[in-house]
């Protein structure tokens, strides 16, 4: 008998016992090492921070700690308040990592595509945030788990998956994600099934590392300023900063003494009027968003706005310059919808409203004669009425890392007249464009 036929015979002979052994050990499981899950779930990599191991942790952490610690704490509190009493029902487990600013969602937020891959699981399999927690209910579960717990092989097909070592599942073994894997086969990277691919591309947040459950925004926004002028003596009385009769008289007659003690002359030729210039309002804030679905996010937070208005009433030679500063604290509430999301990019639309309260206001008034400040005074401005506004925006977000991204949102705001009589840009331009940009911190 030649060597070749002997080898064939041996191969066939090996195949019998190898196949039998393979079949016997198929699905065989053992108790996992104690504390394994705790170590896995507490690892930084799971929180999506592999880049931190490359020396960027300190830098990123500094930024995050400085700017988002308060937001993270707020997010944590709010999250804990909103997590259902049975956390396993959502599969979400939130943990604040000691010494870091991160809120880590440790479990239950598997990528939807992975979830889709798991869809063939039997109905009795429920997501558990803590896999070590004893399973409950159905007989099917008990039988499955008990066999695992006792170190016995799972019943064939119990997990709903074909075993990858089976002779007819050779294609299955080609799914791989490790570029540097020892066992990577050539030509393994095919596409997802079309339906899953479509789901990931259209109308959803980016999946995988760049999806999020909670997001915190640190933003800056402003709306265009405005300017206007009204002429004539009556404009002095109708000025946004109401002048007293004496002040108007001083402007009109020039009967006061100038700073140098000389008596100025009335200049009837001077054009008298009121200029109002609303500077671009500046708004900063922190908001927290909660993903109520992969597509819809509800957000709220806290904003601080400064409105500055310069009002010049009088003539060029003599006028009152009033610098008004109004400080507002606002609470926005809005809903955003992801229109497109892929990997690092997300395009969305948002709409909502905001309630603002003027917490402080001040007028610094300067009486200026021929460019020289003759006198100055100040007074506080109180606006008791609340300021409501509605806004709509479209935004684009780019994520540098799974946790940090930037976004830009052009939008349109409508400030509802609150009838206060305090002149500001909200009243001058009730309908106005605004632009917001900022950092967005996302937590899973």
């Amino acid at each position: 008998m030649n060597d070749e036929s002997e080898r064939d015979r041996q191969a066939g002979y090996d195949g019998d016992w190898v196949g039998g052994l393979r079949e016997k050990m198929r699905g065989y499981s053992m108790d996992e090492p104690e504390g394994l899950w705790e170590e896995i779930s507490s690892s930084e990599e799971i929180a999506g921070l592999p880049y931190l191991r490359k020396g960027r942790r300190r830098k990123v952490a500094r930024i995050a700690i400085f700017s988002a610690s308060a937001a993270a704490a707020l997010a944590l509190v709010l999250t804990l308040a909103h997590v259902p009493s049975e956390p396993h029902s959502s599969g979400l487990q939130v943990q604040a990592s000691a010494g870091t600013d991160c809120v880590q969602v440790l479990a239950g937020s598997s990528a939807p595509l992975m979830a889709a891959a798991l869809s063939p699981l039997p109905d009795h399999v429920e997501p558990l945030a803590d896999p070590l927690r004893p399973h409950r209910s159905s007989v099917g579960e008990d039988s499955c788990l008990s066999s695992q717990a006792q170190g016995q092989p799972l019943p064939s097909g119990a997990d709903g998956f074909d075993d990858y070592v089976s002779a007819d599942s050779g294609n299955d073994t080609s799914a791989e994600a490790e570029p540097d894997d020892i066992m990577t086969d050539a030509g393994e990277r095919d596409a997802w099934p079309d339906d899953l691919l479509q789901e990931s591309r259209v109308g959803r947040r980016p999946e995988g590392k760049f999806s999020s459950i909670i997001s915190t925004d640190l933003f800056f926004s402003n709306i265009p300023g405005s300017a206007g002028r009204s002429s004539g003596y009556e404009s002095l009385f109708a000025s946004p900063v109401t002048l007293t009769q004496d002040q108007v008289y001083k402007i009109v007659t020039g009967s006061d003494e100038a700073a140098d003690g000389s008596v100025t002359l009335y200049s009837g030729l001077d054009e008298v009027g009121t200029d109002v210039r609303h500077r671009q309002p500046v708004r900063v804030g922190v908001t927290v968003g909660f993903d109520i679905t992969p597509r819809w996010t509800v957000g709220t937070g806290l904003t601080y706005s400064v409105l500055a208005t310069d009002i010049t009433a009088g003539s060029e030679d003599r006028h009152y310059l009033t610098e008004r500063r109004l400080h507002y604290i606002g609470i926005p509430l809005r809903v955003s919808c992801t229109l497109y999301g892929k990997e690092r990019w997300r395009i969305y639309a948002a709409a909502g409203g905001m309630l603002e309260k003027c917490i402080s206001g001040r007028d610094d008034i300067f009486y200026v004669v021929r460019g020289v400040t003759d006198s100055e005074s100040s007074r506080s401005v109180v606006e008791k009425q609340l300021q409501w506004s509605l806004n709509a925006a479209a935004g684009v977000q780019f994520s540098f890392t799974p946790h940090i991204g930037i976004y830009a949102e052009p939008g349109l705001s409508w400030f509802i007249d609150n009838g206060s009589g305090i002149e500001n840009v909200y009243k001058d331009r009730p309908l106005n464009f605004n632009f917001e940009c900022g950092l967005r911190f996302s937590f899973r």
């Binding site: 016992w17 996992e32 999506g48 891959a117 803590d130 695992q148 799914a175 066992m183 995988g208």
Partner: protein
């Protein structure tokens, strides 16, 4: 993630334990593997039933081999001094509990069981095993046959004890 872990932790523990005896090492490998699995989810390509398990197993075996290859001489060192049994006896596992087989395999010499596991459970050819481990095909085949013979002997002895 938790669901995935709960579902496959036991199975992957058994896979790693066939290659590595030390329980702490098994834990380290599993931890590294699961972290890699969870952080690579977005790169996983679903190919139907079985692909998740195959993918996770592949990553885990890769990590196991990486761990083993840190000791570059783990294979060759054990070949020396262990004569080829020269027997064609095959390890007939019929009727032997899987846990017993698992234990027997895990007690094989390191190099033997690595080749044995890759050949039997990962369905690698000796050519592929040689490439994976950086050994010759002949060494792979030799170690496999010795592992097979040792396992057959262990099974025979087990049967004798339990007759």
């Amino acid at each position: 993630m938790a669901d995935l872990y709960r579902r496959y932790a036991g199975y992957l523990t058994a896979v790693v334990s066939r290659y590595v005896s030390d329980r702490d090492d098994v834990k380290d490998i599993l931890q590294t593997s699961f972290v890699k699995i969870f952080t690579s989810m977005d790169r996983f390509e679903y190919r139907g039933n079985g692909s998740v398990k195959a993918w996770m197993t592949r990553i885990t075996v890769n990590e196991t081999l990486k761990f083993l290859k840190r000791d570059e001489k783990f294979l060759s060192a054990e070949v020396v001094g262990i004569p080829d049994s020269g027997t064609d006896e095959v390890p007939d596992a019929d009727g032997i509990p899987a846990a017993v087989i698992q234990d027997m395999i895990s007690r094989l010499p390191q190099g033997y069981r690595t080749v044995f596991n890759l050949y039997v459970f990962e369905e690698k050819s000796h050519k592929e095993i040689a490439a994976l481990l950086g050994i010759s095909e002949g060494t792979s085949a030799s170690q496999f046959h010795r592992a097979k013979a040792m396992l057959a002997t262990k099974i025979r002895e087990y049967r004798k004890r339990n007759e």
